[in-house]
């Protein structure tokens, strides 16, 4: 047979093509791209800048809040980019069409992860630039890079959580459910208002929330963590696995229903 030379398309170009498409569909939907980039900057301007020179946990509010809203920004991108696109792909039956092609499922997932990281990098970079200019936050190049790298590497619990919600919720309810998770979780974890200034209940539940441990990664770059990086990392790995199990169960439930 003439076509026996190559039976499968190479994986890397498929992943690149998937990531590109996922990124384009994110950036072209204003309902996603505008809040993802603008809200963290707006929140920082409203809740952080007015108290820029006050001190919290030994650093200026300008720096502390920049770390907090940096964490919030990455969490939001991860939850929404995964949750909404997965829910849409299911609702529109894009998943069924893709399933009938030679697209490997791993390339579909890898494309989404890469697009999410790229988008999170843009949202986070915009916020950090705003903080450096408007908030007068000065860090060494190494410290900026560490902050960015930790938040991007630590994002996986929110990717798996978004994936789980995307598989459990319908395309219209996914946004609402994700927002109902994102806002209270971020608030109670001290991302909007520093934990010492929140009512006592927040301090009690925060250690059980992934956003709290994620925030620690960011605060640590400003020199104000309340737990060691190792402990935060373990919590985040635990949440990643927990949400992954929920996501995989939801995935197989759908699998039996749609492809059984």
């Amino acid at each position: 047979m003439a076509k026996a030379a190559r039976e499968l398309a190479p994986l890397a170009p498929i992943v690149v093509a998937q990531a590109r498409s996922e990124f384009l569909r994110l950036i072209r939907v204003p309902a996603f791209s505008v809040p993802s980039i603008i809200f963290p900057i707006m929140f920082y301007a409203l809740f952080g800048l007015p108290f820029a020179h006050a001190m919290v946990e030994g650093v200026s509010v300008a720096a502390y809040a920049l770390a907090s809203f940096g964490a919030y920004s990455v969490i939001s991108v991860a939850l929404f980019s995964f949750g909404i696109t997965v829910a849409n792909d299911r609702g529109e039956k894009t998943t069924v069409l893709m399933r009938a092609t030679p697209l490997p499922p791993i390339a579909y997932l890898a494309g989404k992860v890469i697009a999410t990281l790229a988008f999170a990098a843009i949202a986070l970079g915009s916020l950090l630039a705003f903080g450096a200019i408007a908030g007068g936050v000065h860090l060494s190049v190494a410290a900026w890079l560490t902050l960015g790298a930790r938040l991007l590497v630590g994002v996986f619990p929110f990717i798996t959580l978004g994936f789980a919600v995307g598989y459990l919720a319908g395309p219209t309810s996914a946004i609402a459910i994700l927002q109902l998770i994102n806002l209270p979780m971020s608030f109670a974890s001290g991302l909007f208002v520093p934990l010492p200034e929140l009512p006592g209940w927040a301090g009690k539940i925060a250690p059980f929330l992934p956003a709290y441990h994620f925030g620690q990664l960011a605060w640590a770059t400003m020199g104000t963590p309340t737990e060691s990086i190792g402990v935060s990392t373990l919590w985040l790995i635990g949440f990643t696995i927990l949400f992954l199990i929920v996501a995989i169960r939801a995935y197989y439930r759908e699998e039996t229903k749609t492809f059984g």
């Binding site: 190559r6 039976e7 498929i14 498409s21 569909r25 069924v96 069409l97 399933r99 092609t101 030679p102």
Partner: protein, 292 residues
């Protein structure tokens, strides 16, 4: 001749419903086969088995001699499904490039768009496409991997007459090069025009499998219509199917002479009698009514 699709005694149940009942289907390379049948007959279920989108409860399905879910088998096929969507905010050319990346031997993007009649739409956002253009895009996606076999489930559903005609022109040109095609459709006259084999399925069973010409001649159904007073009691009459029983009665029969004799013997008053040969559509109706 190489076997492209081989379905052997495949049964598929959804809860208490038996969607496919021991179906056999074999497609050789280069065959153009139309799968016909009423809604709910099992056409889409059968295509899902062939595509590996669903698993048969019993029986086997192979594509190019492989499990249909094998990526190597899928790399040699192109598909159009019913009601599957794509992200709205991508451009036509971007989606075609995305799908081209899935296949080991894709054709050029411009070529795929040209075959599908979308040459001037490469930069159009999906959300701006009409139903006909969207359907042509799905066709471009089905062919962009230069498939040896095409599986199209109701490819022209929802298209107006002109868009349908344009679609069939593109499709006919594409399969003329010796590709294998399996399609499901409601438009019998078009199946007649494109397919060299028609498989009729009803209530999960294959009830006929023949060339369009053989199918027509094998069914001797005639269409008999007339006006009558009072209602027609079909009990005991040689009727295959009642199409309408209003003041004007319209029935299919395989024994028109016997039917008329029986009607006259009953003393029914009959006016404006017409007897006509069955069209392909009526032939198929006659076949699918057999089991009902």
């Amino acid at each position: 001749m190489e076997t492209v699709v081989e379905v052997e005694r495949a049964s598929k149940r959804f809860g208490a419903t038996l969607a496919l009942d021991r179906v056999d289907l074999r497609l050789s390379r280069g065959e153009v086969v139309a799968l016909l049948g009423p809604n709910g007959a099992g056409k889409t279920t059968l295509v899902s088995l062939v595509l590996g989108l669903r698993k048969a409860n019993e029986g086997t399905t192979r594509t190019f001699g492989m499990d249909p879910r094998d990526r190597r088998a899928r790399s040699r096929t192109g598909v159009m499904l019913q009601g599957s969507g794509l992200p709205n905010f991508l451009r036509v050319g971007e989606v075609v490039d995305l799908f081209r990346s899935y296949y080991p031997h894709p054709i050029e993007r411009a070529k795929a768009l040209e075959i599908a009649g979308l040459a001037d739409k490469a930069s159009a956002m999906l959300v701006t496409l009409s139903g006909g253009q969207l359907q042509r895009l799905y066709f471009a996606l089905a062919i962009c991997g230069d498939p040896e076999a095409l599986f199209l489930d109701e490819p022209t559903v929802g298209l107006d007459v002109e868009a349908r005609r344009a679609f069939w022109t593109h499709l006919r040109a594409f399969v003329a090069g010796g590709r294998t095609l399996l399609l499901t459709t409601h438009y019998l006259e078009e199946a007649d025009a494109i397919a060299d084999r028609i498989v009729v399925i009803n209530a999960g069973r294959i009830v006929a499998d023949a060339s369009p010409a053989a199918l027509k001649s094998s069914v001797r159904n005639k269409r008999v219509s007339f006006e009558t007073d009072g209602s027609l009691d079909v009990q005991g009459l040689p009727i295959v199917r009642v199409i309408s029983s209003g003041p004007r009665v319209d029935v299919l029969t395989d024994e028109p002479e016997a039917l008329l004799r029986a009607l006259f013997a009953r003393g029914s008053s009959i006016r404006n009698l017409e007897v006509a040969g069955a069209t392909l559509e009526e032939a198929v109706v006659g076949l699918t009514a057999g089991g009902a």
